[in-house]
Symmetry: C2
Subunit: 729 residues, 2 copies
Amino acid sequence: MIVDKVLNKIQCRSFLSIKRLLVVMLVCGSISLAEAQQITSPNKNFSLTFSLKENGVPFYELTFKNKPVIKSSKLGLATRQGGSFLDGFTVTDVKTTSIDESWDPVLGEQKTIRNHYHELLVTLTQQAQQGRFMRIRFRLFDDGLGFRYEFPMQKGLSYFIVKDEVTEFNLAGNHKIFWIPGDYDTNEYPYTTSTIAEIPSLQKKATVPITAQQPIKAPSVQTPCMMKSADGLYINIHEAVLINYPAMDLEVDAATLKMKTHLVPDAVGNLAYMQTNAQTPWRTIVVSDKATDILASRLILNLNEPTKYKDVSWIKPVKYMGVWWEYFVAGKSNWAYSTVNNVKLTDNFAAFPPSGHHGATNENVKKYIDFASANGFDAVLVEGWNVGWEDWIGNWKEEVFDFVTPYPDFDVKMLREYAASKGIKIIMHHETSAAATNYERRLDRAFQFMVDNGYNAVKTGYVGDIIPRGEHHDGQWMVNHYIHVADRAADYKIMVNSHEAVRPTGLNRTYPNWIAQESARGTEFEAMAGLAPEHGTILPFTRLMGGPMDYTPGIFQTDLSYYGTGSKQRVNTTLVKQLAYYVTMYSPLQMAADMPENYARFPDAFQFIKDVAVDWDDTYVLEAEPGDYITIARKAKGKQEWYVGGITDENRRTATISFSFLPKGKSYIATIYADGTDASYDKKPQSYTIRKVLVSSSSVLKQVLASSGGVAVSIKEGTSGEIKGLKKL
Amino acid sequence: MIVDKVLNKIQCRSFLSIKRLLVVMLVCGSISLAEAQQITSPNKNFSLTFSLKENGVPFYELTFKNKPVIKSSKLGLATRQGGSFLDGFTVTDVKTTSIDESWDPVLGEQKTIRNHYHELLVTLTQQAQQGRFMRIRFRLFDDGLGFRYEFPMQKGLSYFIVKDEVTEFNLAGNHKIFWIPGDYDTNEYPYTTSTIAEIPSLQKKATVPITAQQPIKAPSVQTPCMMKSADGLYINIHEAVLINYPAMDLEVDAATLKMKTHLVPDAVGNLAYMQTNAQTPWRTIVVSDKATDILASRLILNLNEPTKYKDVSWIKPVKYMGVWWEYFVAGKSNWAYSTVNNVKLTDNFAAFPPSGHHGATNENVKKYIDFASANGFDAVLVEGWNVGWEDWIGNWKEEVFDFVTPYPDFDVKMLREYAASKGIKIIMHHETSAAATNYERRLDRAFQFMVDNGYNAVKTGYVGDIIPRGEHHDGQWMVNHYIHVADRAADYKIMVNSHEAVRPTGLNRTYPNWIAQESARGTEFEAMAGLAPEHGTILPFTRLMGGPMDYTPGIFQTDLSYYGTGSKQRVNTTLVKQLAYYVTMYSPLQMAADMPENYARFPDAFQFIKDVAVDWDDTYVLEAEPGDYITIARKAKGKQEWYVGGITDENRRTATISFSFLPKGKSYIATIYADGTDASYDKKPQSYTIRKVLVSSSSVLKQVLASSGGVAVSIKEGTSGEIKGLKKL
């Protein structure tokens, strides 16, 4: 259940007593309009200053504990027609507000989230433009800043086209930065770690080949980007509420250390079509001197709107397996039914000679259903079930899939009934081949087909160049498309897990059925170019700042030469690190991505995946350093169970896990899944130990993690019989 | 009922005896492959020669009665990737075929259409491109030529992108030409009459302002374009079966009198995305030394495919009125409910202050229903019924309309029941504001809403710049969109009348529920810039060559100053010419476009509109000269009734109507609606006479037509009582 305790628009002169309102602070705007405006965060760590400089150009700056985070930086938008929102402004109104409230997400990392900020709302008027005005709304939280541009309804301004957003982030030093290059179409680059000044020289190398990419020519990075200053400040820049606007990349000026907003253009070079009332997404800057605070930040979710869905009872966390990883590694199966290399939706696929390597066959799907059911999973994803895969990609073809016609060896009715009899849901797969137009025109039929056949979740895919041609994955039109799909899916009570979609910005609060996204380099790349050992320690500081990721962890057979396909590729983690990902890589939709036969080989380790929760009452970020290590503990939603995951990069390290998050005065059974002493990701990834001990809130575990290794701990209450004989940690 | 007697692929060595096959001629291809290929038309008037010239470049030429029509002209396509289909060809196969069959259109100008042609199919292989090949199929009829490019499935060629089609039409003289300028977005230009050589100097003047236009920079014309040579040959160039390809314009080289294909590009500058098996539309050249033969040609329909619809019983001709013309002239009503100038679909329109000038109110719609019902009409179109019209155009806005939400003063249920009680169908209106994406994503819901509320026909509109942005009204994507809408509508048994869509190419044969289109400058312009008196004598030679036009004739109150709105505009015809349009301007969907109160003022003239048929057993083009006059007689479908319409341009003339089309030996009652002797379109448009006479197959009427005047005749069997006292003509 979602319980939003929203306290809207508490302004000076109104002071309401609201139940569960923790603190109401009023910062009354008595400052002269002509001067700079300043607010501080509730904890006083942050200070935000807004001012108009020469020619009425708006600027802002941000400090944390009196250190500059963002030096004086320009604000504004240029428009295609008429005057721009760049200069000639006077401040004609200022409002300050304080909000302290809490709300419960439908699914999440914690049951209740506190939303506590001081707000500054500045009205900027262009007297020379017939009094046209915009507003800039700043919200200063204890963990950082969000601000956006607002364009209220007003005389003479209904529609305008954005041709540039000039928002700057003028950084205070040549920080270390974890980044992927700016691109209009893909978020699937590997991370580069460098200084800001090094970005231009590394841009080309960082831009590795990806199916469908459109790199920005100027030196640039995508958000969320994670930085660390020389004096230990952690700074994360991203955006929240990306609706009806293109995604933001950041152009990097290596000389001045200034970043400037670079929006994804549309087919004709425009950036955004706006109609008043309109607002941009929030630009977010999460800052702390502790890396763990960055991961604990809920600033982006807080800036999002509560869900409009009246009934959310059908939105459930999902642990699933799938006919998927075998397509990448095993060399035995494929999405396509036949080897014909030129097919059309109007073809009779049953007449094609089967390749003999089709993965989504009745028999194979039943095997997954059997295993998933026997091990307590919720669902099985099946990719390659529908006609069109023979030549689905690379031709900028619009009508690749119809989303309703199964291959001849996939019996929808039989499998629906078989899955239901085993308590398993089949997850629908809608690969669109990036032909969003084709998907939209068939969407109602596709969703009705799902409802008719008992599917309640869909994995969408957008591999390839977008149709409408000239549009990009991260432009305004596609941003609206993804939301349209999620919103329309809700009408059919369908959950959506989108792959190759624009990076998330906390919209899972408003559209909680948009349960997870890919939008980054996930496990599939382990079978191709590989992922660096540090990759998993960066993602939570970058991609996951925006929302849950369907990272698809759980690969037990990490050495892919095992399959005898000639692949020398390996998943660059130990087996235990794969377990730890279930805790460090938050998602209410989690896959056990390996094949049943591999899990059957390691039933004791598999037990952790069977046990681990995917929805949480609370989260404790115990240790973290981007690029190096992360250790997180979480309490399972509605249960007296806790799960801990710790991961490290290529360096062995000792994780320190304090169990102080446990209720005091009671002992629990901790099952510790650890790398073997001889384990390492590249030599002995499958060396692990499992031990059971008693822990209490005063326990501390010092656990050695192998090179690219991990630790996973499940903590449960035990009966006296179970506890008996167990040693204390 | 459609009865297609298709005789497929009669080739040399096969000679089938088929019932109703009138003549089978076999022209066996015994000519050496290295030489030119030649076929003649069944009547031997035409000769088509295909040859390869230097570097293996394909050429064709066409003669009529030994006169050159198209001099040696280049063929071929350039592609985006890899080798083009331009040169390096050798002829590797030649097939000739003869077909003579007949078929019955669902709705049409005649009950049965003869399809009689000689075919030459040339296979052209590029040995240097790994044996890649294409085919060119020529079909030579007694009324002209059709040819197209075909790309069969073959090794190494599945997908390609067209970047140019070089098809040339090398004309034999500096013909007189009736043309509108080339444009990617509109067909609504007024016609210019000039010589071919004059086109470049007239291009700018011809390109008048239109909402949403993208004129081609090079001197160019649209098709169908109508030409007349100095020695009296009438030549019409157009295309047939425009599916999955952009529309063709023609670049004009005034010096050489050569026209070259110019295709409408997409958002990224590509022209067409092709997948083998693929073919281009047919390029058509209809030729005769009699202008009447051009109008009688069914060549374009013959080149189209039979309908795939199994059940066509729900496709019916429609005579309708509509809440429409009053929006243009009467100054009293509007599409929009309120005067708010910034609305969104999410707004509560009922909360807006009504303007008091909304046209689609319950009361007004009932008035139209009452009148339409009392006068035997089938349907009433209602525009402005749904929310969104307040600021619907000019903002390149995507979500303008939802197609299911009525304004607060339009009661869908009440009007559905009221209309049903009066035997009237309400015609749905789907103005899309050119946001095709928004329409497609809502299409299933919009059509279901229609079915739920008893609508069986929709008028679609595409005013504005297209979304997907960068696409054009006449590009491949939109071409496919219109067909998709028609095809999907058929699933709901809905007929479609599209406005601002690409010009038709005979697809009403294949999609008979795509009952009519606008796609030209129609009556609405009489209320704006006006239409030249000759306009109606050109349209059947140009726009209507492709298919039926929803011209919306029937304006009785032609002097628009009548409404006291300050307009000095007038409809540039006499009242009688408006009657004649029901015969000269073919459409199985015909509107009586004026308001009920105007028809009530002229009940005797209105009788012709009430009587006239809209679907026909046969058509007789009695007289015609493009730009000057047209006289056509037609026999009503399944009835012993005939209707004659004659029109003239600004010049008075005497039409000669021979009634030889009537069955011999019987007298019929002819009601002759004629311009008054003092009538003229600009001074006395409402002066008319009506007289009844007896006619037989030997009768000839010499009737004077006023300046921009007309004549209309209805011919029926009469009882002896009715006949008694009537004079013979």
